[in-house]
């Protein structure tokens, strides 16, 4: 693992917040890369981006700012993949249930 590191701050725009489906997709993407990934919400310990149980601790509602950081081989590439996951809307879940 090299010392390469890439970081970006994102704001959760999804009205449902950072919920389980994007979390699962995030973890899946994070595991594809040989680097470590952390997701940090201000004032909280960093969550492990490769563990959905860890991400579930974030309680990132719409508007929450999160710092995504990848460290190690292919960190920049990993960060881009993770940002793509967070940009998806996952709105098929928002259809009203009757």
């Amino acid at each position: 693992m090299t010392g390469e590191s890439a970081r970006q701050t994102v704001v959760i725009t999804n009205p449902q917040g950072f919920h389980m489906r994007p979390m699962a997709a995030f973890v899946e993407a994070a595991k594809r890369f040989p680097c470590s990934v952390t997701v940090t919400r201000a004032g909280m310990a960093p969550a492990n981006g490769q563990s959905i149980l860890s991400l579930m601790g974030l309680v990132a509602v719409q508007g929450t700012e999160l710092v995504i950081e990848a460290t190690g081989d292919r960190a920049a590439e990993a960060l881009q993949a993770l940002l793509l996951v967070l940009q998806r809307t996952y709105d098929e879940e928002q259809e009203p249930e009757r």
């Binding site: 917040g17 919920h19 699962a24 509602v61």
Partner: protein, 154 residues
């Protein structure tokens, strides 16, 4: 949000009868209905949860699943816990059967409650010893006591 704040004590099951995904989801929804927490048709809730499972399984690995849905038949977020001693195929991320299930049903417009409940669930499920104890629990009362004990310590 602590698990004991939204888990319906009377809906907890220590020994699911079903051995298939749909059957255990149905069983857990029925347990919540029997406890008196749905104002609508529980079949709609079953359908909503199954529909969510089709998008991607809520089997998160290590024998745990968190089936859930938003549905108008509840006024507040409710949940239940169930244990399968046999294990249930759940299309989990690690392909292993699930033994511990936490179900959440939340009102349509309360995404923050849902996320706060997930936080409470994660706090418990991250504790492997807690999960092992749940799997060995012999009765709903024992499961409830484990949840309350964990919440007090958290």
């Amino acid at each position: 949000m602590r698990m004991s704040e939204f888990i319906i004590r009377k809906a907890v099951s220590a020994n699911l009868a079903g051995v298939q995904k749909e059957a255990v989801i149905r069983e857990m929804v029925e347990n919540i209905r029997l406890a008196g927490y749905f104002k609508g048709n529980e079949e709609d809730v079953v359908k909503a949860i199954l529909k969510r499972e089709l998008l991607s399984s809520t089997g998160i690995g290590d024998g745990v699943a968190i089936p859930h849905a938003k549905h108008a038949s509840v006024d507040r977020l409710v949940g239940t816990v169930a244990v399968s001693t046999k294990g249930v195929p759940f299309d989990s991320v690690d392909n292993d059967p699930v033994y511990v299930l936490v179900m959440l049903v939340s009102p349509q417009e309360r995404p923050s409650d849902h996320l706060r409940a997930l936080e409470g669930v994660s706090r418990c499920l991250k504790d492997r010893e807690f999960v092992q104890s749940l799997r060995k629990a012999g009765s709903p009362q024992e499961i409830w006591d484990l949840i309350c004990k964990h919440d007090r310590g958290a």
